[in-house]
Symmetry: C2
Subunit: 155 residues, 2 copies
């Protein structure tokens, strides 16, 4: 192996995101964190994962600015892990993963939950990609373009 490939310097934004969250556990930790889980032991028991792995993942996500540590909200001297805005920004990715399973899973009957609009209790719509002018876009309607050299910051 020599070393597991890193995508850190890669120009592709997808590779760059996988660098931070592209492992088996990170997105599940985020999922639970969005659900309100904050404490080490709570993550550990809900996810059923080894404590050393959890420890490593939490540290990595803190390093990436996805989580941050804060004093425990229950007054004890312990601390907890809370999502940063960057971490909360992962929500659409989780929704996209969920909707993909809902649409294409070979055993959809094993999926026991649905994501609903809290106000109405009704299922949410599929994520939509739209053009600036509001047209609904699917993959063939899009392309990846080289970004025009961004304006150099002064000096």
């Amino acid at each position: 192996m020599v070393k597991r490939t890193s995508f850190e310097g890669d120009a592709c934004p997808i590779a760059r995101s996988l660098e931070a969250i592209g492992d088996w556990w990170s997105l599940l930790i985020i999922r639970d964190a969005l659900f309100g889980v904050r404490r080490f032991g709570e993550f550990q028991s809900k996810l059923g994962m080894a404590k050393n792995i959890l420890s490593a993942r939490l540290r990595s996500m803190v390093d990436h600015g996805i989580l941050e540590t804060a004093p425990a909200s229950d007054g004890t001297a312990y601390h907890e892990y809370v999502l940063t805005p960057k971490g909360r920004g992962l929500f659409p990715i989780l929704v996209a993963l969920r909707q993909w399973s809902e649409e294409f899973d070979d055993h959809p009957e094993q999926i026991t939950t649905i994501l609903v609009d809290r106000a109405k209790g009704r299922p949410v719509k599929k994520l939509e990609l739209r053009a600036e002018d509001g047209r609904l876009l699917s993959q063939p309607d899009t392309m990846v373009k080289l970004r025009p050299a961004s304006r150099r910051r002064s000096a």
Copy 2:
């Protein structure tokens, strides 16, 4: 290790999707496949990954119904890997990953490409999650509900 944890029987659709594509390489392979890459060697040279790993990933994604093999379109006796509808359905996940990097990456200047609307050449809008009635939803506006026991199929 005993065995890397599998999410196969998990009820959570996010865990289930990670079972299929939650590793370092799969989504990058899909990204290139959406771009039109079809041949083993083309994946290998574009991604710069080891051939044995690529081989294992392609096999796994074929098993998961994300890719399928087809006779080569150039008339040779080789075959190629093409996305199934299930595979093309991963597009929103890739868009979500891209947009997350674009919004939160610590070094956004290293991202050299943008996703544009092919017709206009203009950047696409952010993915939007909406309620049935069209209201824009963010994470706190949603909740996960137990699915009502789905109608048992006859007999």
